[in-house]
């Protein structure tokens, strides 16, 4: 089966430095292979600066890849020519943004944005059809009563309600894949769950796939089917969510897990790694990018970039120590 979307060795580098002819390159995303199947929520997890938002923007075609390709339903996205194809892709793969207070236009009612999207992406609908669809998507994201909600202005809604409008807007395009970049990080803890439940409902009832980008691995566990952990532009571990979290192989995944505040569990000892910060990956030399913070780094990590090795068919990790290349080969 062709996956809904896959990337092949996707990289994006940015030129940095104030000098005019600066050739220093920041490697925001390096050689990422990502697959998203239909009806699936994939979580992309990492710290600030790990390249996860750059991934979302690459997939949304805000940035063009430096190298590598994105294949959507088997077709190379870079080959899309003409407004019609481009529009089609954008309606198939819409984005939901992080800040619900900034992403809705404050001077229009919330119906405005959804209706504009419908006009643009679904020209087959007449005014009555658009209104009906508007009510349908607002109901689908759990806002009741829809007739009343659509007449409101953004300031009349709470943060959680606004973010639901964000999802309704995306849903109106009949999307295949929603790119959700930190959709709940600005919300109160008590309403985050409601929105995560909406995401699961969209997958189960509307059949959309979601790329859920987050730094909170606990919420990723709650809602996602598969998880990919990014560090310094590389994918360091990926696999079915429960498998990865039950038995994390990469030291960075272990660090992320230990940082989640959990009153039900005793406080774990903080390693030095928790205090350091992710590197700005400028003109990187080969080697593992996590090595400076890694408690178990060996010599090899300084010189050889670890590649993702399959541990069992689905679970992969990129670590010389816990997932050495030979063992991976044996497992396959």
């Amino acid at each position: 089966m062709t996956p809904l979307l896959e990337t092949k060795d996707l990289s994006r580098h940015f030129k940095v430095g104030s000098k005019l002819f600066s050739h220093r390159l920041l490697h925001a995303v390096d050689d990422v292979n990502l697959t998203i199947n239909e009806h699936e929520i994939v979580a992309l997890v990492g710290e600030s600066g790990s390249g996860k938002s750059t991934m979302a923007r690459l997939l949304a075609q805000v940035y063009k890849p430096t190298t590598g390709e994105i294949r959507f339903q088997g077709k190379d996205v870079a080959q899309l020519r003409g407004r019609k194809d481009q529009l089609k892709y954008r309606s198939d793969v819409p984005m939901v943004f992080q800040d619900p207070f900034a992403s809705l236009n404050p001077v229009y009612k919330v119906s405005h944005g959804i209706k504009r999207g419908l006009k643009l992406h679904r020209p087959e609908l007449d005014a009555a059809g658009r209104h009906e669809e508007l009510l349908r998507v607002v109901t689908a994201v759990g806002l009741n009563p829809p007739e009343e909600i659509i007449e409101r202005y953004p300031y009349e809604l709470s943060g959680g309600q606004r973010q639901r409008i964000g999802f309704a807007q995306a849903l109106a395009y009949r999307p295949k894949l929603i790119l959700a970049d930190e959709p709940v990080s600005m919300l109160d803890v008590s309403i985050r769950i409601g929105l995560l439940n909406v995401m699961a409902k969209l997958r189960d009832e509307e059949g959309v796939s979601i790329l859920y980008i987050t730094h909170d691995i606990a919420s990723a566990r709650y809602v996602s089917d598969r998880v990919m952990v990014m560090y310094g532009g590389h994918v360091v571990e990926s696999g079915p969510t429960e498998t990865v979290l039950a038995d994390p192989q990469h030291p960075y995944t272990q660090l992320l897990l230990s940082a989640v505040p959990d009153p039900r569990a005793p406080l774990e000892i903080t390693s030095e790694a928790a205090k350091a910060e992710p590197p700005a990956v400028i003109d990187p030399a080969p080697g593992c990018r996590f090595r400076a913070r890694c408690p178990i780094a060996v010599d090899q990590c300084m010189h050889v970039t670890p590649l993702l090795q399959p541990l069992d068919p689905d679970h992969k990790a990129a670590c010389h120590v816990t997932a050495p290349a030979s063992a991976g080969a044996a497992a396959v």
Partner: protein
């Protein structure tokens, strides 16, 4: 620096019987065209020297208003409609402006929510430290530099960053620089308003550990406001849960977590997913916090409460001591259903000093 907070540390701070901060029946009102809105309705709170008190609740529950009231940073349309804020025995509400200014930063410092906005983007970190010092002391240039470098090193930032502008620091470093700034005069109380909310989990965790270590090293007390109850679970000594401008539960952190006495505390606790154990479907808390201009009759939590009874809709619950709780560090709750009350008669346990430190186990 790599070990978690030592459980023994606060014990040495246990000696003074006087509470450092005592908030008595504080009422803060926002004057709106449609009448006054009470965001803080008769809050009582005590903080002992060297204690870490967490204040949790959803947005719009009045926790930031309370904090602004404590630091006397509220501005119109907010005003104090009643009550006292006793800090080291002096009432900050009635204290003349000049004396208040003397006391601020030296003895009571504030760390704001967003370090992005709280630091001036066009001036270096060192310049901003200098401003803060010169507002209180006439120190020579070298001494200012020395002290600035010293507090920066406390939060593990290299002194070269005194020459840096805020945008040259990462989010976590900016927030730590804010904390360093609050430490310039080694205050007795630091009030923090969601200092970690803009950070990711790893940076957040490391900041919390650092705050706790500094607290044990320097002995200041912390009032820490957050909407994420799980965040303070391992760091605060006592926890105050606010809902709709009122205290609904106040007690030792472990007791509030292990046996929440108010349904709102329990709902908050159940609202975030766990990374361990079986995956259970969660619902969060349905609905929104009430409009404080027109709070619900009876118990303010009744429209969202999972265990609501008829009497909750008419009877106003008072804060009472939970009978089964510890006698010296009792749990206070405001729920009619959970515990038919003996109304609150005892003082808020200000004079008792039981170090309640989260259990630390290595894994």
């Amino acid at each position: 620096m790599s070990t978690p907070p030592e459980p023994t540390a606060p014990a040495k701070l246990a000696a003074p019987a006087e509470p450092l901060l005592e908030v008595k029946d504080l009422r803060i009102v926002y004057d709106s065209p449609r009448g006054p809105v009470e965001a803080c309705s008769g809050v009582n709170l005590t903080v002992r020297p060297g204690e870490f008190v967490g204040i949790v609740g959803e947005s719009g529950c009045g926790k930031s208003t309370l904090l602004f009231g404590i630091a006397q940073l509220h501005s119109a349309p907010a005003r104090i409609a009643g009550g006292e804020v006793l800090f080291q025995g002096r009432d900050l509400v009635t204290l003349p402006r000049k004396e208040l200014n003397d006391l601020r930063w030296r003895e009571l410092a504030v760390v704001m929510q967003s370090a992005m906005n709280a630091l001036n983007p066009v001036r270096t970190i060192g310049d901003q430290f200098k401003d803060a010092i010169l507002a209180h002391e006439k120190w020579p240039e070298e001494r200012i530099r020395e002290r600035s470098a010293e507090v920066l090193s406390l939060v593990a930032i290299d002194a070269v960053h005194l020459e840096s502008y805020p945008h040259q620091l990462s989010g976590g470093m900016r927030q730590r620089a804010m904390i360093a700034m609050a430490l310039l005069f080694t205050p007795d109380l630091i009030v923090m308003d969601e200092p970690t909310s803009a950070l990711d989990v790893v940076a957040q965790r490391s900041l919390m550990v650092q705050i706790k270590e500094l607290q044990q090293q320097l002995g200041f007390a912390v009032v820490f406001v957050t909407h994420d109850m799980s965040l303070v679970s391992h760091f605060s000594d006592r926890l105050l849960v606010m809902y709709a401008g009122q205290v609904v539960e106040f007690g030792p952190t472990r007791a509030v977590f292990d046996t929440p006495s108010h349904p709102y505390s329990k709902s908050l606790l159940d609202a975030f997913p766990s990374i361990r154990g079986p995956k259970v479907p969660l619902t969060g808390i349905p609905g929104d916090p009430p409009n404080l201009a027109d709070p619900p009759a009876g118990c303010r939590f009744n429209p969202r409460c999972p265990v609501v009874k008829d009497r909750c809709r008419t009877e106003v619950p008072e804060l009472y001591t939970v009978a089964s709780s510890d006698a010296v560090s009792p749990v206070l709750s405001r729920c009619l259903v959970h515990h038919p009350a003996e109304p609150l008669g005892v003082p808020l346990a200000a004079d008792v000093n039981i170090p309640i430190v989260p259990e630390v186990q290595s894994s």
